[in-house]
Chain length 213, copies 2
């Protein structure tokens, strides 16, 4: 039956090819950096001609932005789907950590790409706004958690997130650069350490003055 032979309507095939290129670009960028990577190797990795790549993306810069949005979106979906952030708990924290871990393990290229410094000079305002879609719900979660007495009151939400995200990235970066190997126990301990960093340490009587050094 030819219905399946020509299985893919033109528009669908185009979308697929676009995706192939996106994937290839992510892979090559993660390996060799942004400025460092010529366009032809990306096209080769995707199995298309250079000209074809330029049919799908206006420029290398546009490609970088597309890869960025795509990866960020994937992270977002993976992290937040089916999660009730407005009911924070230790279990929710553990779930977030676990999801972050599987993301870093299953899609290391995306994870690494998102951590690159130098794409920031490339990003369009639209790409930048994509960031907020992840940060805002997390921020709300922290706020609710603080109201609940679950998380420490002292850290402003943005700071708590930066601390936590930084620690997570630091651990996986160290692993990637071979400063470290991580087994499952290590990951649980790291998770608990991060929890201690932001949780509420309620010896309810504490009125500790902070003496500067």
């Amino acid at each position: 039956m030819t219905a399946v032979a020509t299985a893919t309507p033109a528009s669908r095939r185009e979308a697929q090819k676009r995706d192939t290129i996106l994937r290839a670009a992510l892979k090559v960028f993660a390996e060799s950096g942004l400025h460092g990577t010529p366009v032809p190797p990306i096209a080769a990795e995707a199995g298309v001609g250079v000209g074809t790549l330029y049919r799908y993306f206006d420029s290398k810069e546009a490609l970088i932005n597309a890869v960025f949005c795509d990866a960020k979106q994937r992270l977002q979906d993976h992290l937040l789907s089916d999660l009730d952030l407005l009911n924070p708990s230790r279990a929710l924290f553990d779930t977030l950590w676990a999801r972050l871990t599987t993301f870093a393990r299953q899609d290391p290229e995306s994870f690494q790409f998102l951590e690159m410094q130098d794409h920031h000079s490339y990003l369009t305002p639209h790409s930048r706004s994509q960031e907020q879609a992840l940060l805002i719900p997390l921020g709300m979660m922290v706020i609710v958690g603080q109201r609940n007495g679950l998380l420490g009151e002292h850290l402003k939400p943005d700071l708590a997130i930066a601390l936590f995200w930084g620690a997570f990235v630091g651990v996986f970066k160290a692993e990637r650069l071979n400063y470290l190997t991580l087994d499952d126990d290590d990951l649980k301990r790291a998770r608990d350490a991060c929890w201690f960093a932001i949780a509420n340490h309620n010896t309810p009587d504490n009125h500790n003055r902070d003496s500067a050094q």
Copy 2:
């Protein structure tokens, strides 16, 4: 005696110019990245001709390595000088945090440069070994701290360092990218959070089994 008339012995002036170039390179690299940055702007920033730059450094790659070693050395000196790492205490931790903070504030270019991902592909074995000079003493400090019961036993030293360094970097990176503004109180709170992450949570009666999630 003409020794003072030509106030700067040739070798000294050369060393100075080398340093000027190093500084300029650090600045420009921190602004525009590694691959992204042409050599001529570096020479211009240093106030020398391109040819001169190549008298002092064999290649752009050699320059990058030199900048890296220089910055790492500065960090090391700033962090560790006159510090007895083998007597860990909360105060020592606070001192380290404070020094890290002043480093990030006073020499933001070095701090940012050291955090770049993409220099790793450039580094010579010698540059790489430079890393160890910082990591090993810190690792020893963690080990002693754990023996003392000051730090949690559970984290292997490398992991504790990665966690702490990652969190610190995450916070300052967030500030640099304008996701965050940090006043002195925020920094103290972040410091305390990091401390909680790695400290020993000794309600001394704890024989807590770690129940898997």
